[in-house]
């Protein structure tokens, strides 16, 4: 275990914890946008910057780092709301507000930082995509990497290959569900689902007719995990019902 201080308060966290873990343990709120607990930290949005001083450094010497991916160290001092930290977060969220002037989440975080209107040139083509990279990272984890970032710098965007229908997509919606601004559009019906302009056929529960997952998703995971495809064909509630009935039938008769 490692002991450090967050805003003067001592916290003890596991050795492999990040500063963000430590701030949470200390009950201090550090804003994040591109962070998701299940994904490895990325450090792209820069909203979670904090000031940090290591043991042995001068008393007043602090380095600004991102809390999400910086490892903790024994004796470290973390300051989450110094003047320059807040000023830096303000610049970051102000810039994001210029990029996404109409996005409710960004408007809200900006307001929390005292910004009602961006001080920069608002994007003439407002977008909800904040380029946090969560969608591509989760897609990489699903294992298909159907979408990725394209171009670079200001022109960077998230897109399927060749801006067409993504051949590797299985329609699992992981990207859309993780997106913090609901930028990724999809339509979900009983028969089909459409995402990234590609239409997917749904597997439907034989009893209720309710859509379960896409056929592509079931096939992909069945092949990858060795789990029979049939397992995926029924909804979880139908499966519970079937199990209950089986159990009741098996019960020792009184």
């Amino acid at each position: 275990m490692t002991t450090l201080t967050v805003n003067g308060r001592r916290v003890t966290v596991p050795d492999d914890a990040t500063i963000l873990d430590a701030t949470r343990a200390a009950g201090v709120d550090v804003p994040t946008l591109c962070h998701f607990d299940g994904l490895e930290p990325w450090g792209g949005c820069r909203l979670c910057v904090v000031d940090m001083s290591q043991e042995g450094w001068d008393e007043d010497w602090f380095k600004m780092v991102t809390a999400c991916n910086h490892p903790v160290a024994e004796g470290m001092r973390v300051v989450t709301h110094s003047e320059r930290v807040l000023a830096t977060r303000q610049v970051v969220i102000d810039l994001l507000l210029a990029r996404c002037p109409e996005t409710p989440l960004i408007q809200r975080i900006a307001a929390e930082h005292g910004i009602e209107k961006t001080s920069y040139e608002p994007n003439p083509e407002p977008t909800d995509c904040i380029l946090c990279g969560l969608c591509t990272r989760v897609c990489d984890h699903i294992g298909v990497s159907a979408i990725a970032s394209v171009n670079r710098g200001w022109g960077r965007e998230i897109a399927p290959p060749f801006h067409g229908e993504p051949p590797d997509c299985i329609g699992c919606l992981a990207c859309a569900e993780i997106c913090p601004t609901d930028y990724i559009e999809f339509t979900d019906g009983h028969v089909t689902r459409t995402i990234w302009n590609r239409e997917f056929e749904m597997l439907r529960d034989p009893v209720t007719g309710q859509a379960v997952i896409t056929t592509a998703q079931a096939e992909y995971f069945a092949e990858r995990s060795g789990v029979p495809k049939a397992y995926f064909e029924t909804s979880d509630s139908s499966k519970r019902l079937a199990m209950a009935k089986t159990f009741a039938a098996l019960a020792v008769k009184e």
Binding site: G43, G44, C45, R46, L47, V49, M64, V65, T66, N69, H70, P71, R84, A87, T88, Q90, V91, V92, L95, L96, A98, R99, S119, Y120, E121, I130, L131, G133, A148, S149, N151, R152, G153, W154, G155, R156
Partner: protein, 629 residues
């Protein structure tokens, strides 16, 4: 022949030396990118043809070789005749026969081809007497221009791989590390991290597999020292890497080269193949039992790949996006394994350090910046080219003693160092001794050694905008402050140079710059505001003129600048008329010419060609007022 022991290496070294000594005369034709562009290949071929046709090889012991960059690119193609040391500049293929007859055989100098000192107009015969060369001390560039980079024997004759032989057979890996530590050498790529400390950290990292990488992705505009080293003496890079690998215990190496440097790729490829053939690379190097091999990886054209973590991602075949370096790449680098990454110039110096000792290297330079440093001296300076000097040399010595002063004797305004991460150093700091700390204190940085001299016809707002535009295009776009911040900063600058500057712009720039410095993920974003802040620091008045007076004092920003012909000065030479791309100039030969303001696009072409300096700039706003009246 494979070298299988130290004795065999020494024997080859001696034999190669002796063979070279038998040639009583040598003709060195510079075939660096600069000279090739000016026709050096034709010159080299003409020499080879003459020598073969006339049997001069046997007769006068003449030996012709194509070498790497001599540094004096502006005067190319360059030809040096040894041992006399006569340097001919701007040599054409048709002069080759004359050179052989007059100089090589006749022993006479052809004055017309000699270098003319721009300062006093004097012709200088001896290569080593030319101020451009006289003041240099070459370590990393020790063999450039002296060897044929495609001939490993030639390199060995001049001492290549001697440092390696010493390392492998006289020193333990720890002793090699100690020698480098004593030398005090710091990374030549820009940040100036201590080489030995980097190696030690990698060596200490757990694991069996580690890598040694060479960063040849020289992306700073205005810098080309790494290109010249890779082209002109690839063996120095290989030797350094092998020694480094031996010290840290690595068996695999990569050289990451910009694809924009085709000649460097070719020469490195040849050098690696030759070194392998000779047993200097691969398994059991020189029979020492040490194994190490190098592969070349060509970059895809992204400035960000000069950043270490982005370079490693690129080597992995991925998009060159930096990662936070809270865990150093010496521990988790390429494929998350311990990795040493050094710049081309850093590696090129290692062989010399091991051969001559760390003490020797440390005896040059300043207290915290040891040894010598290569610079590319370019821009509006008389002698442009590549130089290597002890650390601590002042900017004034570099620009005036070596560079010969500002081109066309215009007033000096600033020198930009460190590329897009650096800044502009003004005239009052010309006596600044150049080292890592001093440049950083001045708001600039060492960077990869580009020095771009700027005269009074350079607008500092435009220069800052230029770097912003460069970086906006090169930002990878991963982190918010760099991606969005550069775009917004550029937007403000576009307004400034477009005559739409506003009160509060300077403060907005400063605030954004601070946010980018503190908030960005990698050094590209963190240092992106340097050109902005350094120009603001030293040339604030120029910014204010753009905002308050809608004027560009240097007469560069087109939206703010008009050109007019001074009546008394114009002798009707018609040069401006021919230069004008939009036919906005009217006039007949020998009569006064006039610029039509409604057609003029303020490109400055007329200004540049006018031999009598009869064209002047004035703020457009004044012109408009005049018209209204």
């Amino acid at each position: 022949m494979r070298i299988e022991s130290r004795d065999q290496f020494t024997a080859l070294h001696e034999a190669a030396r002796k063979a070279r000594a038998e040639h009583r005369q040598q003709i060195l034709v510079c075939c660096g990118t600069g000279c090739l562009a000016s026709g050096a290949k034709e010159v080299a071929e003409a020499f080879a043809e003459q020598v073969a046709d006339r049997g001069l090889d046997a007769e006068v012991g003449l030996f012709v070789k194509s070498t790497g960059c001599h540094g004096f690119c502006e005067r190319g193609p360059l030809v040096v005749i040894q041992p006399s040391g006569v340097l001919y500049t701007r040599v054409k293929a048709k002069s080759v026969a004359e050179i052989i007859d007059t100089t090589v055989i006749g022993g006479e100098v052809i004055t017309r081809l000699l270098y003319k000192n721009p300062v006093d107009g004097e012709r200088i015969e001896d290569y080593s007497e030319i101020p451009f060369y006289k003041n240099q001390v070459r370590v990393a560039m020790r063999n450039i221009g002296r060897i044929d980079p495609t001939d490993i024997e030639d390199a060995i004759a001049e001492g290549a791989y001697s440092g390696l032989a010493r390392a492998l057979f006289e020193l333990t890996p720890d002793e090699v590390l100690e020698e480098v530590r004593v030398s005090g050498q710091r990374g030549r790529g820009g940040a100036g991290f201590n080489t030995a400390r980097k190696w030690a950290s990698c060596k200490a990292a757990p694991g069996d597999r580690r890598f040694v990488l060479c960063n040849g992705d020289e992306g700073d505009p205005g810098a080309f020292k790494d290109r010249s080293i890779m082209e002109g003496d690839p063996h120095s890079v290989l030797e350094g890497m092998i020694i480094g690998a031996y010290a840290v215990g690595a068996n695999e190496g990569y050289i990451y080269v910009r694809d924009e440097y085709p000649l460097a790729v070719v020469n490195l490829t040849i050098a690696i193949a030759e070194a392998r053939k000779r047993g200097l690379l691969g398994d059991d190097i020189m029979g020492s039992g040490f194994n190490f091999d190098i592969k070349i990886s060509r970059g895809g054209g992204a400035f960000i790949c000069g950043e270490s973590s982005a370079l490693m991602r690129s080597l992995e075949g991925k998009v060159g996006e930096p990662r936070a370096k809270y865990v150093h790449s010496t521990e988790k680098g390429l494929y998350d394994l311990p990795t040493v990454l050094n710049n081309v110039e850093t590696w090129a110096g290692i062989g010399a350090i091991i051969e001559r000792g760390g003490q020797w290297f440390a005896s040059m330079g300043t207290e915290k910046s040891k040894g010598t440093k290569a610079f590319s001296l370019v821009g509006k300076v008389k002698n442009t080219g590549l130089i290597e000097l002890p650390m601590g040399t002042t900017l004034r010595q570099i620009i005036y003693d070596i560079g010969g002063g500002v081109a066309n004797d215009r007033p000096f305004k600033a020198v930009q160092t460190g590329g897009p991460s650096g800044g502009c150093v003004p005239e009052e700091l010309l006596d600044l001794p150049v080292d890592y700390e001093k440049l950083t204190e001045a708001g600039s940085m060492m960077g990869s050694g580009g020095m771009i001299v700027m005269d009074d016809r350079t607008c500092m707002v435009d220069v800052a905008r230029y770097f912003l535009a460069f970086l906006t295009e090169e930002s990878c776009g991963k982190c918010t402050p760099c991606r969005e911040g550069l775009k917004q900063m550029l937007h403000i600058y576009d307004r400034l140079i477009g005559g739409d500057g506003r009160e509060g712009d300077i403060e907005a720039i400063e605030r954004l710059a601070r946010g980018m410095q503190l908030g960005s993920l990698c050094e590209l974003g963190k240092s992106a505001p340097n050109p902005v802040l350094s120009t603001l620091r030293y040339f604030r008045a120029e910014y204010e003129a753009h905002i308050h007076d809608r004027a560009c004092p240097a007469g560069i920003c087109r939206e703010l600048t008009a050109y007019e012909i001074i009546e008394e000065g114009c002798d009707g030479c018609h040069a401006c008329f021919k230069a004008c791309p939009v036919d906005a100039i009217e006039g007949v030969i020998k009569e006064l010419h006039v610029i039509h303001q409604d057609a003029c696009i303020s490109c400055g072409a007329c200004f540049d060609v006018c031999p009598t300096e009869a064209i002047r700039t004035l703020p457009k706003s004044r012109l408009e007022k005049a018209e209204v009246v």
